[in-house]
Subunit: 325 residues, 2 copies
């Protein structure tokens, strides 16, 4: 007889709170983690809206405590967890890890129950111990902060270059902080007041796209990062690049942007997509206080009110919504 | 009283042969080159069709003999010439040369008379001596071959990777030969018989897009090069990339391709545009016989019949058309 747990389950495009969902059964090499806190991100909202088909427990940003592990030393440790689980056998897995394995599952996204629940099962290899001076609230940001760090893996952001970032939302604010660490000449362009206010507090130049002139950005930036996920954002980002510049795409797009790719050839531009990132650098940046995340929390809800929490997270201008599990 | 010359002149979208066009007057630091042979490329045809506004002598692929030079040692030398002329003063010129100078002119393309004429004026800095063992016919290919070489500047084409090239036309055949030099696993996909036949003779795998299956290319290529300039080509090229793959765009596009850029993010793809390339490597590849170009000549016309020559070059499946000046 298996135990049950509380969980937020997506099925047939409907999200519902269950008080008696079956607890996950860890497979070989997997640990059972008691989730303590989880974060809601755009991908969760997109899945709820049906952009990616998924059935099961939603959620992939979390921190928790290891309840059971196949190796000694892990039980009772506070952890964050990488979300991709590969087959471990294909060329891709062996050469580069699980992120692009064709048979991969991904926590709460693809073929595997996620973290909006009391327990989650994950391979030990996916777990990272959270340093003592990183709070549970901060640890919830490790996954998206790792995704932001991947920008620096995809392009060399040098101190002397001009960089523009489109989007001052949940992901944009993390990307902005990571980019600012390089000392580059960074301008963040956003539409939502709470994000622009946080940027001001952090000493990062932010502009309100609805009110402030942006003409000086045209063909002036070495690197532009698009965190909007909108076709308009893509077109604007392209316009801001100088010749030989690089456009980093950080969000998936709905609908197909019509892109003037002639400019990509004539001006020899580079467009590079970036998805998941490395956890250890993200943990280091949180432990050292170089990236500030707790002030990005806009609201917190108990798991039981998860449906309302996702509704709130989907409202315009709302930053991170956290679930207390 | 200035001298006149024979020339093919584009004005108000009409190309016409003139027997009494004014000879160009070389500016400071410029040489006067007597053009001996010139090549017609897709850009010439596009300008004739009105895709880029231009008035003046058309043409930018050529070889010739220096008639007058501001420095000793140049007169009488056989040369090829780079096509971009920058202001020489802006940051872009000083850091990277003239290719992306905002005030640049380009031979027969932008603000400067081209080479479908008896004489052309060009800065000495743009000229490259043609080695004795490179024929006039071969030297006409230096400019597009340099553009093909730029692929290897934009991405690392390693011997162990799988590469697909879309397009077996004038530019595609040069790109195919340059890519093949790396030892990579190259497949060229084209629609025109003459190009596919040349590839066969060169020992490069070519497939007829209309007749042969292409399923094995799906998500299988590390690098895809698009030489088609068509929105369909772009979409197909994207489909052939494996995760973390690179799409190199070699032709400008008319119309805006609708691109599923979500794949660029999810699979962390890179799209990079490439335009002009380095002349010296192209000359070395011609001098050593590592790239074969003379068999790509489909027809030759005297300058007087230049209008008919461009018509011929615009026919489907016709490779390089050469003008004898």
């Amino acid at each position: 007889m298996s135990s049950t747990m509380r969980a937020l389950v997506l099925a047939d495009g409907r999200l519902a709170y269950h008080s008696d969902h079956p607890q996950p059964e860890p497979g070989p090499g997997e640990a059972l983690v008691r989730v303590t806190r989880a974060g809601i991100c755009a991908t969760d909202l997109e899945m709820q809206r049906g952009y990616h088909p998924f059935t099961g427990v939603l959620g992939h940003e979390f921190t928790g405590v290891v309840a059971r592990a196949p190796e000694p030393g892990w039980e009772g440790r506070r952890v964050a967890g990488e979300i991709n689980i590969g087959c471990g056998e294909c060329d891709e897995c062996r050469a580069h890890g699980p992120a692009h394995c064709a048979r991969r599952s991904a926590l709460g996204i693809r073929g595997r129950d996620g973290v909006f629940a009391e327990y989650v099962a994950l391979p030990l290899a996916n777990l990272h111990a959270v340093p003592d001076n990183v709070s549970d609230d901060a640890a919830v940001f490790v996954e998206p902060l790792a995704a932001a760090c991947s920008l620096l893996e995809r392009a060399q952001i040098r101190p002397s270059i001009r960089v523009a970032l489109l989007g001052a939302g949940r992901l944009g604010l993390l990307c902005a902080q990571v980019l600012a660490l390089t000392g580059c000449d960074l301008t963040v362009v956003g539409r939502h007041t709470p994000g622009l206010e946080l940027l001001r507090g952090w000493g990062i130049a932010g502009r309100d796209a609805r009110r402030e002139p942006l003409d000086d950005l045209a063909r002036a930036c070495d690197v532009v990062v698009d965190c909007t996920g909108s076709p308009d954002g893509f077109a604007q980002a392209l316009d801001w690049l100088r010749p030989r510049g690089t456009l980093l795409l950080k969000s998936t797009y709905h609908g197909l942007p019509q892109a003037d790719l002639s400019r990509v050839v004539v001006d020899e531009l580079t467009i590079a997509g970036s998805r998941c990132g490395p956890f250890e650098p993200a943990l280091r940046l949180l432990a050292s206080g170089q990236v500030r995340v707790e002030e990005m929390i806009a609201a917190r809800y108990p798991l039981e009110e998860g449906v309302a929490a996702l509704e709130r997270a989907g409202e315009s201008g709302v930053l991170k919504v956290v679930l207390d599990i």
